[in-house]
Structure formats: C-alpha cells, structure tokens
Amino acid sequence: MQHVISVTVENKPGVLARIASMFARRDFNIHSLAVGPTEDPTRSRITMVVDGPEMEQIVKQLYKLVHTIKVVEHTPGEAIEREIMLVRVNADTLRRGEILEAANIFEAKAVDVGASTITFEVVGEPARLADFLEIMRTYGIVAQVKSGRIALAKDIKSPARKQKKTA
C-alpha cells in the first residue's frame, strides 16, 4: 500500500541526505520523492510516496530528525496530488494521427517530434498518468520519466468542499 506524505523541513543543507540516510538505515522504501521551496523561504516541503506497512514508524522516525517540522500523511481523496511525466512513444507516420488523438483526450502535449517518435508531456493526477501510459504501451514506449508526486492537503474551508459536504 502506498502512502503520500508531506514533510515540512528546515531549509538547511543536507536535509535530504538525512532523510535518505534514515530511510536506508531503517529499511524503509521510498517510491518517489519531490523536494522544493515553500511559501516560507526558511522551509522546504518534501512530498514522498512510501511503500510498506510501517507508516507509524516512518512518521515517527521523520519527526525524530532535528530539522523536521511537520509530517502530514495525506488521506486519499483529501489532497490535491500532481505529477509531471515525459513519455517518448514509437510513432511511425502511419499511426501518428491515432496517437495524437489519444493524447488529446489526456491533454498530453506533444513537446518533441522525431523521425519515428513523439514525446509527450502529461501533467495531472497520478492515476491519469498511469492511464495514459497504459494506452501508449500499445504503441511502444521508448523512454519515460516522472517528476515524483507533489501533494497539498485540500483547504478544509474551501467553498467547493463545503458544498460537497452539505450536498
């Protein structure tokens, strides 16, 4: 089972190394990881997708690191999750139209076109990226790279959410 967690840390050199070292030492698995600055320049936010049953220990061990300020485990459906992906697909002239049509449905952008391949950029929820890959697999995937997931908990006070609740 995969879990998505956001770890807010002090923006200090080596924080990522500390987290990676702790995961290695404790035999925890990181599926994906994305790091970036936040609204507060003294803080970074790390979004991690982690595997395994030891969530409680993972959260506690993260908190144990001196530079960790907050760890949030996202409940599925209660966070906005996004990922960016670049996929290079086999696309001979015969099937190009077909492929571009499929890409259109996923709002995938053709960002590079070669003699026999097209490279798409897809942004979205992880499930959508997975679906797109599934479709493209039939044509043949030459190369693929993903950014790692980023997530932000939904704003509980957002009007959209309120509506949902009363509905």
Binding site: V9, E10, P13, A17, K60, Q61, K64, V66, I69
Partner: protein, 571 residues
C-alpha cells in the same frame, strides 16, 4: 567597541559556557588552532592515545557524571577513529559532543590531505551533526549541539568545523540564541494516559516493572523506587539499568534477557502487565518478540516516541521523560489508592520467591581448579568500597559482572549495551574516573577487549587517573568460544588468543601502572588486596581464568524466552 575573535577562541569559550571542564582528544593539523586556544583556557585536555579511546572516555565521563562528555579529533583519520564511540553512545543514549576539524572549506571535495566526509560518515551514528564552514556560526552551533545531546533522548552530536572557520576572525557580538523549530522533546506524559496506566496497574495481578537505561539517563531512580513500592511492583533492571533500584531491594528481580536471571526473564513471560519505563524491548531482552511476554498488556513510557510501538504495540503509550512521568504516576497512584486497595498479589510474589529459591545465580569455585570469573567478581565486590563504579568490556566477563555484582546505586554500572563494543572498558573507566575522582572506578575487562584499547593505560598513568582494571584472562574470546561450543560443533575458529597472551603485569608496568597476577584461586584475594591498596598509579590485576567456563542462564539468540538453558545439563 568592536573586538575581533578567532573561531577557535569562540569554540573554547562556547565550551566553557556549557560548563565543560575536560575534553578528551588527539590533535592534528586541521584542529591545531583549537588546541592553541585550549592551551590557555581553564579546560583540561586529556591526551588519549587513540581517538577511539578519547570517544569512550567522553562517554564514560558522561555515564558517570550525568553530564555531557566532550571529545576532540582532527580531520580525516582522527574523525573516522571516533565513529565507533559515537555509534556506541548513540545506541546507549549517552550525551557526547564530538568536535572534529575539517579541511579548509575551499579544499572540501578535492580529496585534500586528511579529508574525510565526516558529516556524511557520522550521520547515521549521531543524534544530529553539523558541518560549520563559517566562523560566525561556531558559537550557536556548539550551543545547539549541547542542547540536543543532553535533552530529550540523549545522544551524541558531532560538530565538524573547517580549518578556515577555526582560524578566521570576526567581530564578536556575544553568544547567539539557538533556533531549533523542529526539536521539541516531550517531557510530561499525557495526564489521561497516566491515569489510565494507574487503572491498569491496579487491575493487574501479575505486574512487572521493566526498568531500562532511560531511568539512569533521566536520574529517576528515586521515583522508580517510590513508584514500585507504592504500587507493589516487582522490578527487572535491564543491562543498561543495573543499579536503577538497589539489587538488595526486596522488589528487585535482577536482569532479564539472554543472560538474565531465571526469575527476571520468566516473570516477564508470565506477567499479565509490563510497565516499561525508559526501555526499548531490545532483542537481548525479548528474544523472539513473537513469544515475548505473551499474556502481558503493555504500558510503555519513553521520551522517544519512535521507541513506542517499534517492537511491541503498547496498550497504553506514554511519551515523556522517565522522571516526569514516574512523578505523575506516583501522584495519580496516590490519589487512586486513597479510595481503592492494591490488589492481592500474594500468589504472584510467592511464585517469584519460589523461582528465586529454585533458580538462583550460582557458581562453583573448586579450591584447586581454575579460577572462575564469578568468584573473582564476588571477591572484588566484597573488597571494593560501596558506590564503586564498575565498567565492563563486552563478553562473558561483562555478563558475569552484571549478574554477580550487587548494584546499589545508579551510575555505578557502565557498559556498552547496545553496540557491544569490545575495547570499551579501559577508556570508559578512565573517563568515569576523571569525572568522579573521589570514587573508585573498577574496570572488569576480558583479555580480548583489553587488547583492543590497552594503549590508554599510559593515558591513565600520565594524566594521574588512578583506575583499577581487572583483566579476566581466559586466553580466549570467551563469548565467541561459548557460542562455538554450543552452536558450531566446538570448532573454535579464530577465537583462541594464544595461551601466551601478552604478559599483562609487564605490560602494566611498561605503561606506568602497577601490575599483579593471580593464577590460582588462593591468589585471588591477595591479588585484590594488593591491587586495591595502590593509590598512586593505575592498577591492572590479571586473573588467569577457566577458558571453558560458560555463562548461564542463556536464552538462544532469536529464541523464545520460555526456553532458558540453566546450565550444560540443559543442552
């Protein structure tokens, strides 16, 4: 008025501000500037003969005094030699601050002479660590390091400072504040949990109070004893908690686990409730956790939230410092007892007494046979003043010392529990003696362990640190030999030290210590008397012991604690 000051002076002043009286270390190129500053300071520097020695000295000092120990090392090999003591202090939650020097910041990453990536190497064996490249950050970093080392769950912190940061000068504006927004250890337990714990204790017919090293670290012995007496709880003390409650106390059952007493281990197996305080369900205590204390509900008190539920999910978790939580438990317990009686635990205490009667810790000393280490330990205990601090190495002698010495006070038993570091005893004893000059410090060491760090004898002699060291010479890596005998068909691969171990008496004398040897049981007491009478030098007493003796009781590694081997007849 603008004054300038060097990084090295800032460092030494920062140490003085933390109350540091002594540092243990070895100098070298990168750290010379700091040595130049310490030369004029009020801080004593003890020159170890190896940085591993310096690190264990700092840890022994911290153990014995309850304050933070400090070690110094230069860049590269100096720093890497400190890694074992840091790992050791990390496993046993000992507050140590290591100051290492790093090559100049402009040389970092260029494979400069004596460059090692100390920050990266030390990361997994420290509670926290720093690389300081800027003179202006030395003061606040040292302050943070001491704060982190000593608070919450204590542990080692390393501060690596570049040569240029030490040499640089800045306008001095005084010490700065620490800023650790992510570091807020809990102290007090949740009152609701505390009350729930008391309810559970008052409903228990077969409780055991499982006291760990956290009791010693948080100086909670008084509270432990008061609480045990108030709630009428038998107490087991782990290897790290020996002395947390006097061994002579009627509620004390001794040490549980792999080489624990039958009663201590079995009490946990049969308990309906374990109250773990400052203990971490270590595999040497639990055996296979699947079979550990199967009928027991668990109350787990620990200052480190990550320890709670790591091995065994508790029924009542309480995050907090042992001393504070025990105080809360005592208060809540007193309130509850005002209108509720203690349950009748007579059958439980009768059962415990029967086990203690039927399965005591014993040994036989044949008057003409080889010397048994237990006999030596017994006699050492009889001849040593009350409050003597005992320091052990790792192996059979360590287990026997823990089993047969009666510990009456906290901080009188110092050993390497979590990491099991051979070579710990001699330097740790020196550190302990330096911190507690008026108390006798006695190392009980194995001949194998002794040969890992005996170079520090000269440190003790030269620095006037009069430790006593008993070397149990069984001409073998005894604990390894025991395992090979029991589990490897008596194939003694690599465990025999030659029968002509170095002449320990000559070696002691060469190192400026007094040396004595006992080869026959009749020599044991006279040797101890001679050794303990010397007070102007460190003393090494060698006891030539039975190479074939084995430590019992024994629970196989990874086995069930229900299966306790009481002696060779059970094999």
């Amino acid at each position: 008025m603008s004054q300038t000051i060097t990084g090295a002076d800032i460092l030494i002043q920062a140490l003085e501000r933390e109350g540091v009286e002594v540092v243990f270390g070895v100098p070298g190129g990168a750290i010379l500037k700091a040595y130049d500053s310490i030369f004029d300071s009020g801080i004593r520097h003890v020159l170890a003969r190896h940085e591993q020695g310096a690190g264990h000295m700092a840890s022994g000092y911290a153990h014995a005094t309850g304050t933070t120990g400090v070690a110094f090392a230069t860049s590269g090999p100096g720093a890497t030699n400190l890694i074992t003591p840091l790992a050791d202090a990390y496993m046993d939650s000992i507050p140590v601050v290591a100051i290492t020097a790093q090559v100049a910041s402009a040389s970092i990453g260029l494979d400069a002479f004596q460059e090692a990536h100390t920050w990266g190497i030390s990361m997994p064996v420290t509670k926290h660590n720093y690389l300081v490249t800027d003179t202006s950050e030395i003061s606040s970093t040292v302050h943070e390091a001491f704060h982190i080392a000593a608070t919450g769950r204590p542990g080692p912190v390393l501060v690596d400072i570049t040569k240029d940061a030490l040499a640089g000068s800045i306008a001095w504006s005084g010490p700065s504040e620490i800023h650790l927004p992510g570091y807020k250890p809990s102290v007090k337990g949740h009152p609701k949990q505390v009350n729930a714990a008391i309810d559970m204790i008052l409903a228990s017919e077969r409780p055991v109070l499982y006291a760990g090293g956290g009791i010693i670290r948080s100086e909670a012995s008084e509270e432990l004893r008061t609480f045990a007496e108030q709630q009428h709880l038998p107490v087991v003390t782990t290897l790290m908690a020996r002395g947390a409650i006097p061994d002579s106390h009627e509620l004390t059952l001794g040490m549980p686990g792999m080489h624990g007493s039958y009663t201590a281990s079995t009490s946990m197996q049969k308990a309906d409730l374990l109250i773990a305080v400052g203990a971490r369900f270590d595999d040497r205590v639990t055996g296979d956790p699947q079979f550990f204390a199967p009928d027991a509900r668990i109350i787990h008190v620990d200052v480190d939230p990550a320890e709670i539920g790591k091995i065994r999910t508790p029924d009542i978790p309480i995050v907090g410092d042992a001393k504070s939580v025990l105080t809360q438990l005592i208060d809540s317990g007193a309130t509850a007892l005002a209108h509720r009686p203690l349950p009748d635990r007579t059958p439980w205490f009768d059962q415990l007494a029967a086990w203690q009667r039927d399965y005591p810790l014993t040994y036989d000393q044949d008057p003409d046979g080889p010397i048994q280490q237990q006999y030596v330990i017994d006699e050492l205990a009889k001849h040593s003043p009350p409050g003597t601090i005992v320091v052990a190495g790792v192996g059979q002698h360590q287990m026997w010392a823990s089993q047969f010495w009666g510990f009456e006070e906290p901080k009188t038993w110092i050993n390497s529990g979590g990491l099991g570091t051979m070579g710990y005893a001699v330097p740790a004893a020196i550190g302990a003696q330096q911190g507690r000059p008026d108390t006798m410090v006695l190392a009980i060491d194995g001949d194998g362990c002794f040969q890992m760090t005996f170079q520090e004898l000269i440190t003790a002699a030269v620095e006037g640190i009069p430790v006593k060291i008993a070397v149990m010479n069984n001409a073998n890596l005894g604990m390894v030999r025991q395992w090979q005998r029991l589990f490897y068909n008596e194939r003694y691969a690599g465990s025999e030290l030659s029968a002509t171990n170095p002449d320990v008496v000559m070696l002691a004398e060469a190192m400026g210590c007094a040396g004595f040897r006992a080869e026959h049981p009749d020599d044991v007491v006279p040797t101890i008397e001679k050794g303990l009478a010397v007070d102007d030098r460190p003393v090494v007493m060698e006891f030539v012991c039975d190479p074939d003796a084995m430590v019992f009781p024994m629970i196989k590694a990874g086995g069930s604690n229900d299966v306790i081997i009481m002696g060779p007849e059970d094999l």
